[in-house]
Symmetry: C2
Subunit: 394 residues, 2 copies
């Protein structure tokens, strides 16, 4: 059905954080890191470049960033050059585009890079840019940017299921603990106990500072290739085995349940179905913890537990090393920060490194066979999922 097999054969991430670097410099840095990570790769054999970037027009006052990134990375794409935008899921959107192009035979060796420069001199300007992600003329006047929206999700989840602040803090503690093993994470070498997390200031009740991912500068790049090229670059190729996406609505007035993310159910069913597995087969998942409540709702929508059981799932460590599967081992958006376009690429880097056993033991999933990556965008109105496997499809 879906063309030839496509392998993820390596990747690299810049330091995420508040960086004194420009958008262009971060693209350059991601390119240099990619070539260091894959010494066999020659610039002139990369035929395509897919750039994930959410809002360089507002954050960096630069449009037409695809050729800018190509130039900074030393690439001259002769097949496909494109920037994809899907707000917080822009990075995965770039990977999905690269996958489609390679599967269709339109590209052989493709780089997907995600870059975002969010920390402007003025935070008011940055917040105004973030406000553009929602339906600005209709939802904007009600103050519906991300923290208030996800706070509503949390309030509703607490009302319906008795979810607690302690359960939210359990998600944050796990992901920050994982980030402590990841030197590229924004919150590397920072300690967040559950007690400390529960004393941090409220951002939008019940969400506290530690429940929210941050405004982050960062970039990441991965290499995807057609099956016949994989062995040139790695002994541990990771195969794209399924992908799915679903879009429900945009204006919040058209949203359904706040706590039942139907779009994620659809997208995951599609991606897992294409891979021929169920959620029980996953060893590892990188899911979109833009807020702690997101990870809890996602446990449920993915079917890792029943409706309303996401809080206990978190508190019981079932998404931790030694649990049912390892969730967000690189540190998640909470621990790594969330440079919008780079996030989905950074997740894919972690998947590659997990399969290659290149991560510290304290976050390593034992001998992973299957991994899932999830991003949402906007008010959880679009969900994007990819499934990776150690084995190529039969």
């Amino acid at each position: 059905m879906s063309g030839r097999a496509v392998a993820l054969v390596g990747g690299a991430t810049t330091r995420f954080g508040v960086r004194p670097t420009t958008w262009a410099e971060m693209a350059q840095e991601a390119g240099a890191a990619l070539f260091r990570a894959i010494p066999e790769l020659r610039a002139d054999e990369c035929d395509s470049l897919f750039v994930g970037a959410a809002e360089p027009e507002r954050f960096a006052f630069q449009s037409h960033v695809a050729p800018l990134a190509a130039e900074q990375m030393g690439l001259r794409p002769r097949r496909i050059l494109q920037r994809t935008e899907l707000a917080c899921a822009s990075g995965q959107s770039a990977i999905r585009s690269a996958y489609a192009a390679i599967a269709a035979g339109l590209s052989d060796i493709a780089v997907a890079v995600g870059v975002e420069k969010m920390n402007l001199p003025s935070m008011a300007e940055a917040n105004s840019a973030m406000g553009c992600v929602m339906d600005r003329p209709w939802d904007g006047p009600h103050g519906a940017t991300a923290p208030p929206f996800f706070a509503m999700v949390a309030q509703r989840h607490m009302l319906e299921y008795g979810t607690t602040e302690e359960q939210l803090a359990a998600v944050s503690e796990k992901n920050h603990r994982f980030a402590n093993t990841n030197p590229t994470a924004q919150f590397y070498a920072k300690s967040f106990t559950r007690d400390k997390l529960l004393r941090l200031p409220l951002v939008a009740p019940p969400l506290r500072l530690g429940d929210c991912s941050s405004m982050t500068d960062g970039a990441a790049a991965v290499l995807l290739v057609g099956e016949e090229f994989a062995s040139r670059f790695t002994d541990t190729p990771v195969w794209v085995r399924g992908t799915g996406q679903y879009s429900d609505f945009h204006n919040l007035a058209n949203a359904g349940s706040l706590t039942d993310w139907v779009g994620l159910k659809h997208a995951a069913r599609e991606a897992l179905g294409r891979a021929g597995i169920t959620v029980r087969d996953l060893d590892l998942a990188e899911i979109h913890d833009c807020f702690t409540i997101s990870e809890i709702v996602e446990y449920e929508a993915l079917g890792l537990c029943g409706p309303g059981e996401g809080g206990p799932f978190a508190a019981d460590g079932r998404g931790d090393v030694g649990g049912d599967l390892v969730v967000n081992p690189r540190g998640g958006l909470l621990g790594c920060g969330h440079p919008l376009g780079a996030t989905g690429i950074g997740q894919a880097v972690e998947v590659y490194q997990q399969f290659a056993h290149q991560v510290p033991p304290s976050r390593q999933a034992p001998d992973p066979e299957w991994a899932l990556v999830h991003n949402l965008s906007g008010s959880a109105n679009v969900h994007s999922v990819m499934v990776y496997g150690r084995g190529r499809a039969a």
Copy 2:
């Protein structure tokens, strides 16, 4: 090599111009026009939506426009939803993405829509947005926005080859004359003789007002489907037979010749080669006449004439009805206006309608078998080409 065959089976364009409508309203209007143009199409069978938009973040203060467009058009994409950005080539970038997804088997029935709202209350704001397309920190301080850049191309072409203002005016006269047959064109029912064009004010010497495409609001949508679905929607499917793209540079300091567009040569060779034809086989071409000089340089880079012969090619009517092939019959960017994300989609609509003999005789290419669509972006640093044929690949 390239997956299953993909057909363009219809499309529609809104009125282009200075419109008292929002970005969202124009997306809605393009959707309504598409469903009117293809009455067999049901919203629930469109599995994917590809949105071409260059700068809604700056022109319309809205990001994450893909789900906004989907909602306005009444679509709930269950396979792929994505916005692609490549400045002036954003529309074709959306079509190329749809093509790859269908060829790879990841989508069956996909809509590509292009939307741009460029006329802001303040033209200073709009011009500032356009300035972001070039390398803003490096080229911006030198005033290198589009008109000055293409004026340099024209000056150099005049110096090297003796190209004249009259030859530039010949391009503009032809494309405005074609636009007079196209009620959706911004300059429909406006007369531009060569004499009148040569008396219009200078924008950037030697380019006058009639040599420059305009800031335009507009939207367009097309339907692309896998081969097994084509006959459901049309008796005259147009097949995607080749695609090519090339990216040279971004910063102008890294540009090569101003008058020899190497990137277009590469992209056209790739696209024509995949189709198995030469430029002599083309009956019809929609090429990127953002400025009159562009069309002249493109004649040469495409190999329709030799280096430096683009001016005489225009003046002799070889790109006109009755000439070697018909170039820009819908009116081009000069006559239709240039709503960045919508332009490439509008060109594809014309290709479909030409193959279906749905255009007025005064712009109809006789029994077309082959068509080429070209877009450039930025300072002609990225070139994108598609080749369409009446026949499916053997």
